[in-house]
Symmetry: C2
Subunit: 114 residues, 2 copies
Amino acid sequence: MPVKASVTKSSRPERIRHPEVDAFDLATIMRALGDPVRIEMVREVDAEGEMICTDLYDRLGLPRSTASYHLRQLREAGVTRARAAGTNRIVSVRREDLESRFPGLVDVILRDDA
Amino acid sequence: MPVKASVTKSSRPERIRHPEVDAFDLATIMRALGDPVRIEMVREVDAEGEMICTDLYDRLGLPRSTASYHLRQLREAGVTRARAAGTNRIVSVRREDLESRFPGLVDVILRDDA
DNA sequence: TCGTTAGTTCCAAAGTTTTGGAAGTTCCAT
DNA sequence: ATGGAACTTCCAAAACTTTGGAACTAACGA
């Protein structure tokens, strides 16, 4: 009989997936940004440069699973990046990548004084 | 008995509604642009400067009611403008209005060469 | 090894958007 | 008037997104 009885699911590190700049899609990015919670997330993260999820989630005051869902939309569109650091995850805005593919877009998001 | 028996609905000219620049909302505009059909509409219209709905709808090859729905999303967000001209409607992109409120955004939409 | 913390994924319910045919309105020409 | 063309709105079905609690995983410290 082989090794273990109950590996419930993936027992390997599980990389965090991010699209490459060449795979960025304008409609997908616009859609990710078409939500006030997500725009706020981008602004909070950008203002700090980098942020751990807990701090971001605490500021937004949403249930963690909901906040995690929205952050995923941003990450999968290419707006934010996440890297693991111990038991935390450090999030940042992909400013240079966005700027190189859609010049001016980051400024539009961050500079709105409505 | 007053005047008419069956006015089924509004019997008055029915103005086409457009938000004022001050009422533009970033998330609403991003959301309106977060769809490939609508991005294409903006590009087609902008390339012509002005366009009547029929011509636009014919180019997109969608059922008219569907195309009309998408154009409405754009108009209500503030991206496009429509004015009546006889039985036609002439559509255009609100370039200056968008530029004044969200400088750089129109360029992002029109200049993407993906 | 166990307990705790950080964060994600699962899942079903709730909510929203999209679709397209049919019906309706408005305008113009005859 | 009546007819037709150009649009829009209605409406219900289908498709998608969002929500949040519960279950889960992975990393760390004692």
